[in-house]
Symmetry: C2
Subunit: 235 residues, 2 copies
Amino acid sequence: MKNLLLASTSTLHGSNFLEYLLPELKLHFKNCKTILFIPYARPDGISHEEYTQKTALTFAKIAIDVKGIHEFENPALAIKEAEGIFTGGGNTFLLVYQLYHNKIMTVLKETLEKGTPYLGTSAGSNIGGLSMQTTNDMPIIYPPSFQTLGLIPFNLNVHFLEKEAQSTHMGESRETRINEFHQFNNFPVLGLKEGSWLEIKNGKINLKGGLTAKLFRKNHSPIEITSETELSFIQ
Amino acid sequence: MKNLLLASTSTLHGSNFLEYLLPELKLHFKNCKTILFIPYARPDGISHEEYTQKTALTFAKIAIDVKGIHEFENPALAIKEAEGIFTGGGNTFLLVYQLYHNKIMTVLKETLEKGTPYLGTSAGSNIGGLSMQTTNDMPIIYPPSFQTLGLIPFNLNVHFLEKEAQSTHMGESRETRINEFHQFNNFPVLGLKEGSWLEIKNGKINLKGGLTAKLFRKNHSPIEITSETELSFIQ
């Protein structure tokens, strides 16, 4: 049975890395002495080592050790044997490129379907959807496919935000982009605001974090979903 | 000799489609009775027909007819024989997918290098760069390559905007994204604000439109460039 937290962001404005999630993570990873960290998305281009060290400093606060997947000779085996797994944010194109390049997309999917506790933030949550096609990131590298883990039967748009009414910028709004996605793809997209996360546990998907989320379906008007709603109706 | 206008946006806030560019376009396309329109980027998912019609209504104001490339049986021949060409904005992934799918990326490049006057706006300007990798668009469709026309020796980031100082949103700023791009790619990126365009004429590249642009180069601090600057120094 899947046991996942997929968060819109790692960091809230004015707060430290993962700070708002720590009480949740203490419970989520309660049976883990060590978790495996996947630093491939490299926010700001920082190295795997730096990113893993930053993550280790945070998890030390809840007495959990962190090992970066780049420290293992056999990354597939590291995934299979991990007590818990965390994929951090950064660039989704780079993350997906690296998961395919290191041939671990499938083993990661299989491992998470068997119940290894998982945390994703931002890009690490995007890959939980059916495809990475609703990422906000720049295509800085060409991945062999846009298909991702499909741990939930829809896509996520993380760091979701509404267009500000007073904006004079003519670039597409998030909603316009998602509508364009639905010209070519049928599956739903959930816009997840910063501070929201999905809890996938006991066969259920719940919206957590106190904020609303916005659900976009092809040929339907978007709907606003309140926190604590069970989302298994999204197909 | 190339004869191109690459504009950040088709539309300024509070103004009509291409309105701010019309005096420029009258000169640029002065020898054209008809121009060929490439509507592949389909903003908001509108059809090729609708997009072409919208464009035709605008060009009628300067007495130029518009034919959509989708109206031709042989799009490569339509490009070669066009008096002038305009590629409109929308989704860059879709535009690039279609240019490859219809096998016209190379003929478009060759034709524009020979001097057919060209206008690109937004996605239609992105493709003038070396690659589409600094687009802001969502990857709604998987193109066979990110490589584009390379009519200028750098990339564009259109609809460029600075992060607002008071923003509390934690999604990456445009500058952060471009810095991530430079972890994996060496060529410069020019951030082109809405209302700016590049004029490529007589072997020179000039920044037009009265606004500054921001130049990002790998391992250098970004620099602000004033309007009317000649940009051939960017390599």
